[in-house]
């Protein structure tokens, strides 16, 4: 077990935000943390990267209590990509990535040739070579996120914590960022909002509700209409992703709504591919809601 939370509880200004969190991420696994707004995703992540101190329980890194490590030692093991902007200060992309070397340096240590090599490699890895001397503040949201990943790479940690890394990004950048992270070969724990996207990339998913883990497991087992209703109080349809077979969630309206254009019936579904004569598997795993007139059935 690479990263392990044992009975973790965190209080913020006297209020318990998360409690009794037991969660484990295996080596090189891409794990997702999902749950409604305010369910404690960020709080858990911040306890891992030492912004919040656990009120109870422990964060273990390969069996060692994280709090027993010095801040720099911990930062050499765990890198973080969160929402942030350095808008008050004017750093170039290269300078931003060089800041990732901070935990490897003592006072007065200069940037060595090795550091420059690591920084160049990190920038290359995220494909931002042509941006290297641009001002960070002038980049688009997607480019900024790539640069922050490069900074985390320059940190040379074997654990990566992502706090909603794809917020505000377009669909191309969402996939690009997660694909990049998945290909790094490090242990990843990511708080994600988009459940279908989480299902597409995560090996395991932990669902939170009101500061507690409701269920954990592979996406196919966890992201069911029942769980989503229990955690989010939302009605969804779950279909299979035609490429990967992972669950894909479709929101439903609260007010009964009819199909706007009946002639477009099911044209959004891929052409059926079952062997001839076999009964077609139900692509729609609906819950017990009765079918509505004009609905999918």
């Amino acid at each position: 077990m690479s990263l392990q939370l044992e009975g973790l509880a965190v209080d913020i200004s006297g209020r318990r935000i998360v409690t009794g969190i037991d969660l484990a991420v295996r080596d090189h696994e891409f794990a997702g943390l999902v749950g409604p707004n305010g369910s404690g995703k960020s709080t858990i992540l911040k306890a891992i990267y030492r912004v919040h101190r656990p009120s109870a329980g422990r964060v273990l890194l390969d069996g060692t209590d994280l709090l027993s490590l010095r801040p720099k030692e911990a930062a050499r093991r765990i890198a973080v990509v969160a929402q942030e902007s350095a808008s008050e200060f004017d750093f170039t992309v290269r300078e931003m990535v060089m800041i990732g070397r901070t935990p490897h340096k003592r006072s007065f240590d200069g940037d060595t040739a090795a550091d420059h090599g690591i920084v160049d490699q990190a920038i290359e890895r995220v494909g931002c070579e042509r941006l290297a001397y641009r001002r960070f503040n002038t980049l688009s949201g997607g480019e900024k996120q790539l640069v922050l990943i490069a900074r985390a790479l320059a940190q040379e940690a074997d654990h990566l914590i992502l706090d909603e890394p794809t917020n505000y990004l377009d669909i191309h950048h969402q996939v690009e960022i997660l694909e990049l992270v998945a290909g790094l070969g490090v242990t990843v724990l990511a708080a994600l909002h988009d459940l279908s996207l989480a299902a597409l990339f995560c090996r395991s998913i932990h669902v939170l509700r009101a500061g507690q883990v409701v269920t954990s497991g592979p996406p196919g087992a966890v992201l069911t209409p029942e769980t989503i209703r229990a955690a989010y109080g939302a009605d969804v349809l779950v279909i299979e992703h035609p490429d990967t077979g992972t669950p894909h969630l479709i929101p439903r309206r609260v007010q009964p709504a009819t199909r706007k254009d009946p002639s477009a019936s099911k044209s959004w579904l891929p052409a059926p591919r079952p062997a001839a004569g076999q009964p077609q598997p139900d692509r729609v795993r609906d819950d017990a809601r009765p079918p509505r007139p004009g609905g999918l059935q």
Binding site: S13, K46, Y49, R50, V51, R70, P71, K72, E73, A74, A75, R76, I78, A79, V80, A82, E84, S85, A86, S87, E88, F89, D90, F91, T92, E95, I99, G100, R101, T102, P103, K105, S107, F108, D109, R130, L131, A132, Y133, R134, N137, T138, Q155, I161
Partner: protein
């Protein structure tokens, strides 16, 4: 050459730029070059500062006297006395105070993560003003003679600093927003105490209070130099050691924590270091505004935001800026002397407005 040709011939620019490392050209100017240029600027401004005055002296004459003084036997001529006893300590003090205020400003801007913060934001100057006003108007510490004002203002600065620190401290350490708000509120309180003292004091002494409040190097002497110089040197050693962690803190408290920075301790130390530097500067020269706000901006414009570059450049450039300001203050309306705060505000305010308009993204206009 490629683009110039197209501009010259009036043809449209090519849609494709030739491939190549064109972004390399926008790399920062090497630090050594910037520092060398600033060092030359400082030597020139200091030579001018010592040479220009009611008795003008050539640069050669200035350096003759300085060389003699450094060798331990200052010339006993009129020029020698003017340079060694009056102008040189004044210019050196201006340089040290300019460097200290610039450094304090650069660091406070990181501490509260706001590019429009200045070293007096945290209440130091208003606290020092209360102390100095009490000395000038009520005769506090009269037994200390010429040191009374310095002692009064240092005590005032320390009291203000402690008050801001204690009030803005919370469970998670010093937070930028609380620091700014508490600094502003307590500054307003101390300023009203100063106003009250002026209101109750005698009209003649009020004149000297106003002069002190706007800042001046008119009372500079050799024995005023060591304390600010040592404070500046000690602060610089600490801050240069923290160059990387300052950059990390500029990213915000949480990213800094994830980069292995002990944010609470760093913020506390930065608060102490900047307040002490600003307090010492105020004690020897009064409240000189705008230097700690504007000079860090000019420096960042040239060298970027990496504090390992900003801090040493700021020391040299801030020193030159203040020496030049003091030179103007005592020559513009000669033989009278203007408070230097008037000069720095006249130079600083328009500069800042130009900077804000040129770089809107830095000041939140586009966010």
């Amino acid at each position: 050459m490629f683009t110039r040709h197209h501009e010259r011939t009036g043809l449209a620019r090519p849609a494709f730029r030739p491939a190549g490392p064109d972004s390399r050209r926008r790399e920062r100017v090497p630090l050594a070059v910037v520092l060398a240029a600033c060092a030359v600027l400082l030597v020139v401004t200091m030579t001018l500062g010592v040479g220009i005055g009611s008795v003008p002296l050539s640069p050669v004459a200035v350096w003759d006297v300085v060389a003699g003084g450094l060798a331990g036997h200052p010339e006993n001529t009129v020029a020698g006395i003017i340079v060694w006893q009056i102008r040189l300590p004044r210019v050196l003090l201006a340089a040290v105070v300019g460097a200290a205020l610039t450094t304090a400003g650069s660091v406070v801007q990181v501490l509260v993560r706001n590019a429009l913060a200045d070293p007096f934001l945290l209440g130091v100057s208003s606290g020092a003003s209360v102390g100095a006003t009490a000395v000038l108007l009520l005769g506090a510490f009269a037994s200390l003679g010429v040191w009374a004002i310095s002692v009064g203002s240092v005590l005032g600065a320390l009291a203000a600093m402690a008050a801001v620190f204690l009030v803005s401290r919370s469970g998670s350490g010093l937070s930028p927003t609380q620091l700014i708000l508490c600094g502003v509120v307590l500054s307003a309180l101390f300023e009203s105490v100063t106003s009250f003292l002026i209101f109750r004091g005698n009209p003649q002494a009020t004149q000297s209070v106003l002069f002190w409040l706007l800042g001046s190097f008119g009372l500079a002497s050799w024995d005023q130099l060591p304390i600010p110089l040592v404070a500046l040197a000690a602060a610089m050693v600490y801050l240069l050691a923290q160059g990387r962690t300052l950059n990390a803190l500029a990213m915000g408290a949480e990213p800094a924590a994830s980069l292995g920075v002990d944010v609470r301790r760093l913020r506390r130390n930065l608060f102490l270091v900047t307040s002490l530097m600003a307090g010492v500067a105020v004690a020897v020269s009064g409240v000189i505004g705008f230097v700690g706000l504007v000079v860090p901006h000019i420096v960042r414009l040239v060298v970027g935001s990496d504090h390992r570059r900003v801090l040493p450049t700021g020391v040299l450039f801030g020193a030159s800026f203040m020496v030049l300001g003091d030179l103007l203050a005592r020559t513009i309306v000669a033989p009278q002397e203007m408070p230097i705060g008037v000069i720095t505000a006249f130079i600083g305010a328009p500069t800042l407005i130009v900077l804000i308009r040129r770089r809107p993204y830095l000041y939140g206009a586009t966010q």
